[in-house]
Symmetry: D5
Subunit: 149 residues, 10 copies
């Protein structure tokens, strides 16, 4: 297990032990979205130095841990593919079932290129519904065209 | 290659040969979303009998092909995982990089359960932007709670 | 593609073209359960000679096809694992999430051994429910104990 | 090994060392089914705070362990696929041999959709039989229809 | 599909169509064991020229097919691993469950080396038993010691 | 590494350190076959309480270890597939080369069904031979017929 | 085999039969780089309508083939990973051996982000060298920074 | 985790804790390229004895660690394939999308052979660009022709 | 199946049908080693134009086939890994069992680098031996040192 | 990590720390080839008791380690396939590119059978060459014919 993955485990255990939740943690760390801060603590984004210091204080981490939180992580570590967890798997299923249609429709609308996963932002919200509340996800990624040369 | 996959190939070739596009095809088939019709023609949704007849007419398919379009397809056929196509891969990458954070935040907000990929709808739109237009995706899936028994 | 898989494809296409359904087909073939006959036509059980003749007649298959239906099939051909189809995948998910608990509880109740998947029968029924009908599945497999020697 | 998997190992070792069985443990933890409690202790369901406290007391776990038992687990961790254990494998074999038939019959009866693995319950019972007792499994999952939009 | 695999499919289809069985076929081909002849026709042993001629006559194969039956086959083609067929899988399961014990006991008895799978012979017999007949398999392989140099 | 796999490692190390062999150990543990006892100590069979106590004494294991030896193991743990060890691999090779022939011959002789790997016993013997001694393996498994319902 | 892959095979066979080379073909098709045109004919870029018409003329393809050349291809089809061909494998090896260092150095120089593989261009040249000519490759990809939101 | 991989982890943690960067480290170690030194510390090149001593001093490693840095590493350890990290994945994507074209063009220019990944050097530079700076990579590998014998 | 693989199949079938052997074929094609010519016909080396013409004549191939034989093949196509054929598998086993030792000894003798598989030649001979003839293989590959830059 | 793999790591670390080389070590252990002793210390051969004692003395191993060195190892542990290390990979590549030709030529010369990897020996030598020294490898394995029964 990499040092960064071990730190993710420590963060999850300490968060449980201390009774914290992600929204609280995000609010303490800074002004970015809870998605950014949760991802960062799970090893998918680097934190700025002061953010890392606050995270270390809140989650009872060492100075070495805080230093590690500021490094550029090896993204994707810690997410098994195909996902075994049903919540995460459903997104994988969406790709299997809709992925080729997304490609056809995005190419038809925008031409040859892709939606960036880097110049990208997203929100997750609760959508109240009498038949059962819904998870509402909004994604926006820059269209990047392939260029001839 | 399954009969349904072979039909998908035939549809793609005929669409190219006939110079059709998905939006036109969808508008001719009925009143559902282009995402539904594109997915259906790619083997991810069954069509109603009249829709299949219209598709067969438009895409120069046989009666047997039209019959096949009304059957319940084996979803997921025809999408290689991990996706080799960059446009489709970016969605896979989003799961690898954000999946565990999505899980943490959805569980924190809704409790133990998942976002349904069945009671689910979505839209893809062009989001004009001076720094380059963006692909905007909206998803909405019913939250399904695990129940104790 | 094996000759038997190609026959399965032919059966599925002809069934669609002829507008048949599995319950009708099963009723015509003999007195076993529709699960047996559907599985058999999908390449998971051999048919008796007369059953195969009736199937060939009903589904417009050749004599060679009928002969093939009476052979011992290579079971498991034609089902991709992990299943890409959401309906089939949910059973796979049940194993991932409950499999180890099933093992613990069956071993605790019966001792060291397994539930047979050979001396086994099952039913699938509709369970009416005001909150949405349910799929009810009943399985019964002989417990086979490991024996010391 | 994730912190939650390590806790599962600790639970299994302590259970063996203390001579406990799952039925006893379930009866002590609360009023849900032994399937729920066994799954939960194996990392497939979160426990309520008091349940976790009782589990920790019974199985000689620490407070941090108890906290971990109340978190939303990454389901599916700890079950190797394909299963190497014969008892668990037989369920996998059932999917390989019957899965496509289940799909055909459920789609034919209910239309386009799936059996939920979330809005789902099950029982495992001993079925006495002179030729050898049988394992009887009952499953019931809500049918979820795909909807057009 | 390789030419040899396609020939295996043709042999299986013709055997079914002609109503032949392996014991008959083996008796017609020559004096070796039915295991040898069945394996050979399934692409796991080369046949002698006259044996191939007899096989071609019996199974209605072409001269080119007969020539192909005399070539050194790429053994192992046509057997999916792990086996999806329950009968074949049980042998795979025996390796998973007993393989390391076989190693320990053979090494303890014979020293450092292996049982040859080349200088090897075997028989399969019916073992009558009032509690249900049994499949009796006898294997004998030369022990090959690793040598120092 | 699971607690049971770690115990297997400890058993192998202590056996080496104490200069024991499997035949001796088996003779001390009870009256079952050395195959059973070797497999059990490698994590493939549970031991009875007294057997586990004797094993713990002989191999210098702790009481917790002895308790673990009496639990129902997750069979198949600890055997990599395909096997990297040549001795174990040869059995895997036998399946690849002969598996489909075994299926054809057993189905032809017994009908539709399998050889049980549960109601199963086996022996390994030295077969003296002037050209080099041979490993002789005898297996006997109950034939289990598929039943119609 | 997808229709596009089959067309790639046809292009390679016709190119060989007609004695053409990629540089000639590229020069005839238009003003983009030979890398673009070679990739396009191998199914990795769409061609403009007139380019496709010229390619069809040159390589003796049908009108339907020409239409297919103008569609948005499923990139990555037709390249096995890991590559079995030594020339292609060496690039794979470079990633295995240098990939993590590239990441460290690019992140250190540019911050958190990636080199685009879409807004990307490259050249391949012969670098004369008395000790043996060298393959010189130049790549340039836009740096895309991850953005906070 | 191998001893060398564990040392890589230690190096990454100490580098973060000590606030060092790769360019500084490389400048202190010797006169080779930062790519060589970064790769070496990540386990992809051996260091000379004095270089290892300097690295150990700088990164607070033990004498045993320094000795390990001088050994011939098992290259490729520590880089998961396909890469989960987006920065590293983009290079993998380049192979999938361009690899077959590279092969065609290099073979056409140089004949039958490969570009060496051993007699190979490379540079990574920042290419200033008003539309966003670019990552510029130059690679040069000796062409190695296959020879007849 | 690629066009080149299909040609390999045709060559193997025609060779069997025409009763040719590789040594004869090699002698007719030119002056290189039978290893080169056998590999080339199996899709692992390009042939010169006249060699291809002779091969086409000898093996009754078409002009298009001959043209294909002169192209640069995608090496490695047609060899399944791990090899299912016992003869080929034994070489794979040698790597698994000796590969790390080869690395240690070659690095110790030559320094940091590899044995080239491109600037490489080999012979296979029969080594007569009263205890059973032996296969004698000689390989010689240029040592390629990694260079610092 | 198995106990034997952990011992291999310890041996590699101690060898580096103590500044030993394999030729020295081999000369101290006994009269077999350095290939045998290097392989044995890497977990691919058992050592005799006295050899293990000498190895333990030389490499500063414990008595338990020495005992472990005399056991029959699980060969193949510790060599990742496909090999990520370029030196080891080149042998893997040789199989991919030449394996089917080796099979054809050995079968043609010797008949149906294999080259033994057990009754096998080999040498690695430096072959001086003005164009760059070469690695010369000689292998000799007994031909083992398949026998009819």
């Amino acid at each position: 297990m990499s040092a960064r993955l071990a730190l993710t485990e420590k963060i999850l255990v300490n968060k449980a032990r201390l009774g914290l939740n992600w929204k609280q943690i995000a609010a303490e760390l800074g002004t970015s979205s809870p998605i950014i801060y949760t991802s960062a603590l799970l090893g998918q984004f680097p934190l700025a130095k002061e953010e890392a210091a606050r995270a270390a204080h809140l989650l009872q981490l060492s100075d070495a841990d805080a230093a590690l939180l500021t490094t550029f992580p090896v993204r994707g570590e810690g997410c098994v593919m195909p996902p075994t967890d049903p919540l995460v798997y459903r997104f994988y299923e969406l790709i299997q079932n809709y992925g080729m249609a997304w490609k056809e429709l995005i190419n038809e609308e925008f031409g040859d290129g892709i939606m960036s996963a880097i110049d990208f932002n997203m929100q997750i919200e609760r959508e109240p519904n009498p038949a059962g509340d819904r998870v509402k996800i909004g994604m926006s990624g820059k269209f990047l065209p392939y260029k001839r040369y």
